[in-house]
């Protein structure tokens, strides 16, 4: 039986070929998506870059100033501090959440009772909306009648005002970020662990490898590719995190917990300086791009 009598569905849709040197049909199919991406990504991106090269406000264009806003950034003490805090915040948040996620993933990968319950329960910090979780953290630690200080006082210790000095506020913001982030790490690592062939461990055990050696020479090499990706993602999310420092400390006290996102917001909306605000955002994006490309290259080498 000939198949020619019944044209395929794609052949029916395919427009007659004209003089184009290539098949335009796939590109026509891609056009709606491409237009959507252009509208929601490329246009704001280009507009943001345009803002960063100008003085003025969101409502009123200023003069074209070239790269002056970017140069100005490095003269600003609050920008240098925000850059420093963003780095500290990202490093501790990424590795803190990764380490906790790894430990819990290893735990949940074992045959333990109520494993399903623990998997769901440990996901809660990731599921709860940030406004709820961060504000709840604030209630827990902000003053002497918060639960944490009530417990400290109950055992005879003095209350600790976690948000009242720069160093304690920095510590608190990082702890809350780790708490919010570890479930994602845990889930991703657990998924990777479950693809690991148990025969590798059995072979290692026959060769005399202990638990530590199995972990170091089998588990960790297997987890390294996913860990690279997780570090990149979590770094981007940490540097771009607005809600954790804002809801907990609003960047204070004395700008101690002000990261690049909060700083960009403050300049754009509170100080009406959209040029500097956009320059901060662009600088942040470039920084993260360089970081991601470097880390991915390193991953390929590894």
């Amino acid at each position: 039986m000939s198949t020619r009598a019944i044209p395929s569905h794609s052949q029916e849709l395919r427009p007659p070929r004209r003089s184009l040197p290539f098949d335009a049909f796939p590109f026509i199919l891609l056009l709606p998506s491409a237009l959507l991406i252009a509208l929601i990504n490329i246009y704001p991106f280009a507009t943001g870059f345009y803002y960063s090269l100008q003085s003025g406000t969101l409502l009123q264009s200023g003069d074209f100033v070239g790269l002056a806003n970017f140069i100005q950034l490095f003269r600003m003490a609050d920008f240098r501090h925000a850059l420093w805090f963003s780095a500290i915040f990202a490093i501790f948040s990424v590795f803190g959440s990764w380490a906790i996620g790894l430990l819990l993933a290893l735990f949940l990968n074992m045959d333990i009772p109520a494993r399903g319950f623990f998997r769901v329960a440990l996901l809660l910090p990731w599921i709860i909306p940030s406004i709820v979780s961060v504000v709840s953290w604030r209630w827990l630690i902000s003053d002497q009648s918060g639960l944490v200080n009530v417990m400290l006082q109950a055992i005879g210790l003095k209350p600790i005002y976690f948000l009242s000095t720069g160093s304690l506020a920095t510590f608190s913001v990082i702890v809350v970020k780790i708490w919010r982030s570890f479930p994602f790490m845990m889930l991703s690592i657990l998924a990777a662990l479950q693809t690991l062939n148990r025969e590798s461990y059995e072979a290692a055990a026959i060769d005399g490898a202990g638990r530590w050696q199995s972990f170091r020479y089998i588990t960790m090499p297997h987890l390294l590719p996913i860990s690279f990706v997780l570090w990149i993602l979590m770094t981007i999310w940490s540097v771009n995190d607005f809600e954790t420092p804002w809801l907990l400390t609003q960047g204070g006290p004395s700008n101690a917990t002000e990261n690049l996102s909060v700083l960009a917001y403050r300049y754009t909306f509170n100080l009406n300086d959209v040029g500097i605000g956009a320059a901060i955002s662009f600088f942040t994006m470039l920084l993260l791009m360089i970081f991601a490309i470097t880390l991915l290259s390193r991953q390929r080498e590894t």
């Binding site: 507009t47 345009y50 969101l58 009123q60 264009s61 902000s142 400390t249």
Partner: protein, 480 residues
């Protein structure tokens, strides 16, 4: 894209519309507004006036008084439609949340009363939460969807005026008698010879103290700074401290600035030149720094929100706070009877004063019905008494006629604030007069909050002020 200035009909400079930027904002305004409403769920640092605006301040509401006040307001609304001067059209009114939930319902009702009294003008009401302020106004103005008229913070009009968004209301102000408003209110709205807003609500920073704690410690209410320092030392014992500031809120620097003004200090000279390091300002902040060194300032202050501070005040951990009208309503009912208002103290050089804000009622240039909108503005200014008597608005009225109402005169806290504190209140721009764009940056830019938390963390006063001076010198609004 270059920008050229052109003249509007009224002769003021108006920037050329920047099509691409506004078009972009128009497209994204709604989305951004919604996203911000969702993202900024927590109450941000209160802008000027916002702190007490969110207060569930309620004077004791004698039924007869309130009924009388409402009746008076209704009577006022029944004034002939001629008050609108023949103006007609739609007026969209955006109002911030200046009180508890009852405030919004009352304000809606007052807007309906306006429409009944002025059938040719259809006024609509929209309430805006502080969590999305000021972004919601920025995106609305930028996307061409600004309201006709709105209430807002003490420097909202001057923030948007240089960007061509605010309509001057010299003709509206000229229609009032000078004594229609409390002292310094109208003049505080003047910039470059034009009135950019109408004052409607007063916010002010006042010291409150716990009488029971003062009595127990044998401390009399201080009348000057020496007595205050000595009294706070006596109050401090164990987990009880003399005073607290909410460092995570603008109310911290605003409270400190009350003492700076009490000492005759400020940020500017009379001709609006920056003068951060003047002796009086340094002296006042050094006084607060010494309180920190004495250990009489609650150690949690730098991280406290306004609610944290009032909770500490209510629980008896703190004997004194410098906060907003209505603070007595923020404590538990059994503590309220022990909350007293301090009489104005005399500063070391004989000055009296505190920080005051005049919250704005402003008309936007985008209005299609300026005459109808100005009619609404005048009417609201004169007839909004129910937002206090029924809506429990946290601000004090800027109109003398409203302030004379028994609702205020029969409430010991409000009456004393109006009689003793408002007359000595000064705006952020003191020792200069009027309003100017830099004040909006100073109010919202976060640099004053940084100064306050620097001092609360025991940092050197002069170094902190120098840091502030450097930041202020970098403000574009002070360079132009």
């Amino acid at each position: 894209m270059s920008t050229h200035d052109e003249k509007t009909d009224d002769g003021s400079a108006k920037p050329e519309r920047t099509v691409s930027r506004r078009d972009f904002l128009r497209v994204t305004g709604g989305v951004a507004g919604a996203a911000l409403l969702a993202a900024c769920g927590a109450t941000p640092a209160s802008p000027s006036g916002a702190a007490s605006g969110q207060t569930a301040a309620s004077a004791s509401t004698d039924a007869g008084t309130t009924g009388g006040a409402t009746a008076a307001a209704v009577q006022a609304t029944q004034a002939p439609a001629a008050a609108a001067g023949g103006a007609a059209g739609d007026v969209q009114f955006w109002d911030m949340v200046w009180g508890p939930p009852a405030y919004i319902d009352t304000a809606k009702k007052v807007v309906q009363q306006f429409t009944q009294a002025n059938p040719n003008i259809k006024a609509s009401y929209q309430s805006n939460p502080w969590s999305s302020w000021p972004q919601v106004f920025t995106t609305a103005v930028g996307s061409g969807t600004a309201p006709d008229v709105s209430t807002g913070g003490g420097y909202q009009a001057i923030q948007f005026y240089p960007q061509g968004a605010i309509l001057e209301i010299d003709d509206v102000v000229a229609s009032f008698k000078p004594d229609d408003f409390l002292p310094n209110q109208i003049e505080g709205m003047k910039f470059n010879g034009h009135y950019v807003a109408l004052p409607w609500g007063i916010d002010i920073r006042i010291p409150f103290y716990r009488k029971d704690l003062f009595d127990k410690a044998g401390v009399k209410p201080p009348t000057n700074w020496d007595e205050m320092r000595a009294g706070l030392k006596k109050l401090t014992s164990g987990n009880q401290y003399g005073i607290a500031f909410p460092g995570n809120d603008n109310a911290a620097w605003q409270g400190m600035w009350g003492l700076v003004i009490n000492n005759g200090g400020g940020l500017f000279t009379a001709d609006r030149k920056l003068d951060v390091m003047n002796d009086r300002t340094v002296e006042a902040l050094t006084f607060i720094s010494n309180l920190v060194k004495d250990g009489v300032v609650h150690p949690g202050s730098a991280g406290f929100s306004g609610d944290d501070m009032t909770k500490a005040f209510s629980s008896g951990s703190v004997g004194m706070v410098i906060f907003v009208p209505g603070t007595e309503e923020r404590v538990t009912p059994n503590v309220k009877q022990n909350v007293e208002l301090l009489a104005p103290m005399t500063g070391p050089h004989g000055d009296k004063g505190t920080l005051l804000f005049s919250n704005n009622l402003m008309v936007y240039k985008q209005t299609k019905n300026p005459d109808a909108t100005k009619s609404f503005l005048k009417w609201w200014s004169a007839n909004s008494l129910p937002i206090w008597t029924e809506g429990k608005c946290g601000n004090l009225p800027a109109r003398t006629s409203i302030a004379k109402d028994p609702y205020f005169q029969n409430n010991i806290y409000l009456k004393r604030i109006l009689d003793e504190w408002v007359p000595i209140g000064k705006l952020t721009g003191t020792r200069s007069s009027g309003t100017f764009p830099a004040l909006a940056d100073i109010d919202m830019g976060g640099m004053m909050k940084t100064l306050a938390t620097d001092i609360l963390q025991g940092q050197d006063v002069k170094a902190s002020l120098q840091k502030l001076e450097t930041t202020l010198k970098g403000l574009k609004t002070l360079q132009s």
